[in-house]
Symmetry: C2
Subunit: 352 residues, 2 copies
């Protein structure tokens, strides 16, 4: 917990004057003011996040954390639990969606086992931050102990700080875990106050009967566990997941180090929600890469005050939306640093 | 005209079986079916466009065509006409938005003068396809002769075919021309049948009084010129622009050569509309990179049956939206060609 207190104390809101200075620079570039729309808004936010420094996205890192979820016992997923470990193997061989999209974006992917049930032998490229043998079934009991919750968050913090020490300048959140949209629905319902049926979706693609079981499982998880919405660690411990805790830790570390933290889909955003309960100023460092088709995602982003940049009907997770977004962040950075000004290019401004 | 007839005869709709085969491949990749949303739809479209070949975006080229517009005499723009030539200079020095975004996307920008009023001395990097000394004022007479309209289109075809011969595998449309959103509004109103006030926007950022003048100028352009909506060359000649004609030519050449043609904003899409009147099957080769804030853009895209991939509040033109879209096209291509299949990765599919 000492680690979490240190981070929370280090996280402060960006200074508005940095954003205002960025806007003055953007308005001098050879384009009608505001005509690059959200790319300009993103450039301004990147400058604010970095404390006034010119934006750069030279060394993005995506954290793809994997763990299993006891709630699969309730029959809430279309896929068997073995797929979590199989997909980790796929990540390590570079064949998954996040690998392909991260390669294109020149982003490193940190693949970490936060609690996969199927044993994953140690090997190069696999980071073990095993917190437990999957969570307990949240429809019946707490997902994990409070000590495990703190451990998961602190493991995420440590991995992020390693990457930051190595030069990372943008942190993307990604995840894999059969059953983890059920945990994300529970976390989102608790923290946003939304109704369970409004934040529970089809995950990997379930039918109506499975969806009703999933809604019922989330309802029971909230009734039995009664998480405290003002205590992010409690929410994580009672209805979250190990990988969600790890991602909350990455978000806190990014905010403390004044780096952009890029949310992915619904599950990664649940990690962002937990981080924002632990340290409310952390939300200023979060960027919403895209809007997932999971209905709870828009609810969570709205609660965080974030508008997504992409809306491509994606619902894969893994960090795939964060990877695609890196191109937009780079575009914003390049506009800010490379475009000519009206003065330097000898271009007339609008008529007075 | 012989050239246009040759192209029109060469343009055929893609074969649906190529798209179906692409979908079968996409459904075998290690992700829940459809979970990459519009990136999958885009991959399928790229395969269809290429006649069944695996998609690749190795050599994208953006055509940024510039010309002036006599309708600026009506006081429809916030910027003086001299800015068209000044921005061409900016393109040639690499300082404009499209340069910055194209560099990031590893796209070549072809900058061509189709009829800029301020003389532009010849120099490396500037392609001269000068059709006339700016168009006439469409609020009073036809923009250009029919021969000039054909010449502009054929010049665009020739530039596109040069690029294709050099290996171009994606053609992006971009433009610069003070006053050209007024021409685009007229073209869009004629071809889509929409009301003038619904397809006339703020361009570079005009005030209410200027907007009313602009609407009035477009209305008079349609009344005086009475373009034939079933004759794309006539629409171009009466109310279009030289650069819009050139972009229509690029679109026709791309469709004839079975390459993806990426629209940019409102003005570039007016070129796409003209191409689709000349050769209706050309629309199958058009991709809508983004939705501009110009209100007529959504009307034009709807008429073409296209849904934009990005919605970033952009309204700069030049090809900037097309440049940003290249990253999405590459993402779609990489997903299609690089992701592991369930079988190759040993990942279980959904439970039966």
């Amino acid at each position: 917990m000492r680690e979490l207190h240190r981070l929370r104390d280090a996280i402060a809101a960006p200074r508005p004057e940095d954003g205002a200075a960025a806007q003055r620079h953007l308005d001098q570039l050879t384009k009608p003011p505001g005509s690059l729309g959200r790319l300009e808004e993103l450039a301004r936010r990147l400058v604010e996040i970095r404390g006034g420094r010119a934006p750069a996205v030279d060394c993005p890192v995506i954290f793809t954390f994997a763990a299993d979820h006891g709630v699969v016992q309730e029959g809430v997923s279309a896929y068997p639990q073995a797929v979590t470990a199989q997909m980790v193997e796929n990540f390590l061989r570079g064949g998954a969606g996040v690998n392909v999209l991260a390669r294109q974006a020149r982003a490193r992917v940190v693949v970490a086992d936060f609690g996969v049930v199927t044993p994953l032998p140690a090997r190069p490229g696999l980071v073990s931050r095993w917190v437990g043998n999957g969570t307990k079934n949240i429809a019946r009991e707490a997902a994990m102990t409070r000590a495990q919750a703190v451990g998961a968050i602190e493991a995420g913090v440590a991995l992020a700080e390693d990457a930051i020490a190595g030069g990372a300048d943008l942190l993307g959140l990604g995840e894999m875990g059969i059953g983890n949209t059920t945990a994300a629905s529970a976390v989102t319902a608790v923290i946003t106050g939304a109704r369970v049926e409004d934040v529970t979706g089809r995950g990997t693609g379930i039918d109506d009967a499975t969806w009703r079981r999933k809604v019922d499982a989330v309802r029971r998880a909230l009734e039995i566990n009664r998480p405290d919405p003002d205590d992010g660690v409690d929410v994580l411990a009672r209805v979250g997941g190990f990988e969600i805790g790890g991602l909350a830790g990455v978000a806190l570390a990014g905010a403390a180090h004044r780096l952009p933290v890029v949310l992915d889909g619904f599950v990664a955003t649940a990690g962002g929600l937990i981080a924002s309960v632990i340290a409310p100023a952390a939300r200023h460092y979060l960027l919403a890469s895209h809007r997932s088709v999971e209905p709870g995602h828009a609810v969570a982003l709205g609660h965080l005050g974030l508008a997504p940049y992409l809306d491509l009907g994606m619902r894969l997770g893994e960090g795939t939306g964060a990877a695609v977004f890196i191109h937009l962040a780079r575009a914003a950075a390049h506009i800010y640093t490379e475009m000519a000004t009206f003065k330097s290019a000898g271009v007339d401004g609008p008529r007075a």
